[in-house]
């Protein structure tokens, strides 16, 4: 009798190739979940924190993201960002905690800034520190990147803060290889920056490759705006101070960063798709923080804010 040998079904060899920056970020997020009692992910609704959420999904799949999201609400948000936030949280099934700067103002803990350049950006720090204290969070994951600003270029991946949230820039723990030291005292907390080594272009390219949804204000749209100091400001929602000499005009713009409306300027752009946005960033000659008035206050603006507990 003839023996017919069984033919094995061919195996489709698929190899997982490394994406260095993605792999590093996932590694960091898993270290946070393992080393800390109560981590939280700081979520602003901006592209960097949206990217962090995707990375966290990847890090713990098929389990849910094992920590809540915390939004420090300045009250000056773009409405599109809030709608986006609520939708995302529902899809993920994670807990969202919102703490409002307005409450800190009402409690008399901080005083609203006045004048032409008034912003709630630096007031956020108090609300953030109070929230960390309230929930006893020992690690706060943020989307800050070292390429954003000179003081941030010196930031660690695990950045230890004291009871007052202060950054002691001259006394930071050295970080070697992948050995991340998250040991802290009671009362201390750590700010964690998984996408420290990403550039703005890396983030945008990742959003494109992963097909990640982002708020509509990142894409070109028509908006009532006015010009001050060579920058374009939103004249909608009455958040940004404007005097009568500053005339409102409709322009086609988009936002490169989504912070507090009062300190985030728009750029003229007709990039309506993610591909066009990536192409625009690639050829851009202005840095992302160039559109953030909070950093223009002085050369050391960021360093000073960080010493006071800003992330």
């Amino acid at each position: 009798m003839e023996v017919i040998e069984k033919i094995e079904k061919p195996i489709i060899h698929k190899k997982l190739e490394v994406n260095t920056l993605e792999s590093e970020a996932i590694y960091i997020l898993r270290e946070v979940a393992a080393q800390f009692e109560k981590p939280v992910l700081l979520f602003s609704g901006g592209k960097d924190s949206i990217t962090l959420v995707r990375l966290a999904q990847k890090a713990f799949y098929p389990a849910k993201i094992p920590f809540p999201l915390l939004h420090i609400d300045t009250g000056h948000n773009f409405p599109e960002t809030i709608a986006f936030r609520d939708k995302l949280v529902e899809e993920l099934g994670v807990e969202l905690i919102v703490r409002k700067v307005q409450d800190s103002i009402d409690q008399g803990k901080v005083v609203e800034e006045k004048g032409k350049y008034a912003s709630r950006n630096s007031l956020q720090t108090t609300t953030l520190l109070d929230a960390l204290e309230e929930f006893k969070f020992d690690a706060a994951i943020g989307g800050a990147r070292r390429d954003e600003e000179k003081a941030r270029a010196k930031e660690r991946i695990f950045s230890v803060r004291d009871d007052f949230g202060q950054w002691d820039e001259k006394n930071q723990r050295p970080e070697l290889f992948d050995h991340l030291n998250g040991k802290i005292e009671l009362g201390q907390n750590v700010r964690v920056f998984p996408i420290s080594n990403w550039t703005e272009l890396d983030v945008w390219s990742y959003i494109e490759k992963e097909n990640i949804e982002i708020p509509s204000i990142y894409f070109a749209h028509k908006r009532k705006t006015f010009i001050r100091d060579g920058m374009i400001w939103s004249a909608e929602d009455n958040v940004v101070y404007r005097d009568d000499s500053e005339t409102v005009e409709e322009r086609t713009v988009r936002f490169r960063t989504v912070g507090d409306m009062s300190c985030t300027a728009a750029v003229l752009s007709d990039a309506g798709t993610i591909e066009k946005v990536v192409a625009e960033i690639r050829s851009s000659k202005i840095s992302e923080r160039g559109a953030r008035i909070d950093d223009k206050r002085s050369e050391a603006a960021m360093e000073k804010r960080k010493q006071q507990g800003y992330f």
């Binding site: 190739e17 792999s23 098929p62 050295p174 050995h179 030291n181």
Partner: protein
């Protein structure tokens, strides 16, 4: 895109920050607003040229004193690669920053001032690159404009440096000499018209050719478990996934593996990355695996191929670089952390300090001070799976954590 991490080292005033600024400027990586800030500041400081060092010095004290205090990270990219530069200060007291920068870098640039030649600091910089097994070292002989671009000067520095290389025990290190002027832009990105005698590549040309994948050294497979993933979902009812980053080599479904330190064996059943399954995980990837057998695996354990086991012991000897103001003394306790494994340890003895100028060991001292390097014998409270640093950087290195202050007090390279 490939990511290449580079550490830079140089003495004070060797022009390290200027070199980095020049790389950024000539690759058109400086944005208009940053360039305008540099122009304004250079003018205010009374320079008639652009002071590129202003592009990197970030802290108030650094700008006031014109020095670099802490490791700064600088980013730029070309068509083919993304570059991350760890800019580390050159002062003697900042050895710890140089070691830190070199620990995550595949390549390193050492700056030498053409007028001063090889100095004590150069010894130290090269020694650290040697100790950390940094694969590619570029010796940028800078300020060539101040020695009339003379070939003899370049050759003389090169032959002095060769004497250091002769003392090195890391023979696979690639060392490349390039004559540059960071200030004038010679041989940094663009080829210089002043050094017709130099036939080699410019700094950027050289960097562009380096293989960034080598950051993950090719050696034996090491998969330290960071966390166990147990979704409480119906569709993944019995799922137990082991999440970690893969070092040394590739891991495939069906591979026979051993779990350390328990020495239990099993086979790789599945490899996940997010919602996709793979047959093979490439080195460097952060994946999640499942095993054929229901075995006990937790954080701190390590999965290896059964025919590639590391050492599993309760004591080890390592070259330690000390980074704390409080010195390291025998009889004291520290936590040893290597990846996801953290074990209480006792310092048994300090066998001697090692001079960073290649002059050898001094066995008369039995403590290690800040920025000193020495051979240390350590007793562990539990067995640790480890390799020699020369064979595997990730599982051959560790940090020492002070059990009282929680500071990262030192780094060890297992011998």
């Amino acid at each position: 895109m490939e990511v290449l991490k580079i550490a830079t080292a140089g003495s004070v005033d060797d022009g390290k920050s200027t070199l980095i600024g020049r790389l950024l400027y000539d690759t058109k990586s400086l944005t208009t607003d940053k360039l305008e800030a540099i122009e304004a500041k250079s003018k205010a400081n009374g320079f008639d040229y652009l002071d590129f060092s202003l592009a990197t010095d970030g802290l108030i004290a650094e700008r006031e004193q014109g020095i670099t205090i802490d490791v700064a990270h600088i980013y730029f990219s070309t068509e083919t690669k993304s570059y991350i530069i760890a800019d580390t200060p050159g002062h003697i007291e900042y050895t710890r920053n140089m070691v830190t920068g070199a620990s995550t870098s595949q390549a390193s640039i050492i700056l030498v001032d053409a007028r001063k030649g090889v100095v004590e600091q150069t010894y130290r910089h090269f020694f650290i690159n040697n100790l950390l097994r940094v694969k590619d070292v570029i010796v940028a002989i800078n300020k060539m404009d101040l020695v009339d671009y003379a070939e003899e000067v370049f050759e003389s520095v090169k032959s002095d440096f060769q004497k250091l290389i002769d003392k090195s025990d890391f023979k696979d290190q690639n060392i490349t000499f390039i004559p540059v002027s960071a200030l004038q832009g010679d041989n940094v990105v663009d080829r210089s018209s002043h050094t017709s005698w130099y036939k080699g590549q410019t700094l950027l040309e050289h960097l562009e050719e380096l293989d960034a994948q080598d950051v993950y050294e090719k050696s034996q497979v090491r998969f330290p478990i960071q966390t166990v993933i147990r979704p409480k979902k119906d569709e993944f009812h019995d799922f137990r996934g082991y999440a970690g980053k893969l070092y040394g080599g590739d891991l495939s479904v069906g591979d026979e593996v051993t779990i350390l330190p328990s020495l239990t064996t099993s086979r790789i059943k599945e490899i996940f990355f997010f919602d996709e399954k793979f047959d093979t995980a490439g080195r460097g990837s952060s994946c999640t695996i499942t095993l054929e057998d229901d075995v006990n695996v937790s954080r701190g354990d390590m999965i290896v191929k059964s025919d590639e086991k590391p050492q599993i012991e309760k004591q080890l000897t390592a070259t330690v670089c000390w980074m704390d103001n409080k010195s390291l003394n025998p009889g004291t306790n520290y936590f040893i952390q290597s990846g996801s494994s953290r074990i209480l340890a006792k310092i048994k003895s300090i066998e001697g300090t090692i001079a960073t100028d290649f002059s050898g060991e001094d066995n008369s001292k039995n403590s290690l001070g800040l920025n000193e390097i020495g051979k240390v014998s350590i007793q562990l409270s539990k067995p640790l799976a480890f390799d020699k640093y020369h064979n595997n950087k990730s599982s051959g290195s560790f940090i020492l954590i002070d059990s009282q202050t929680n500071n990262t007090s030192g780094v060890g390279f297992i011998v």
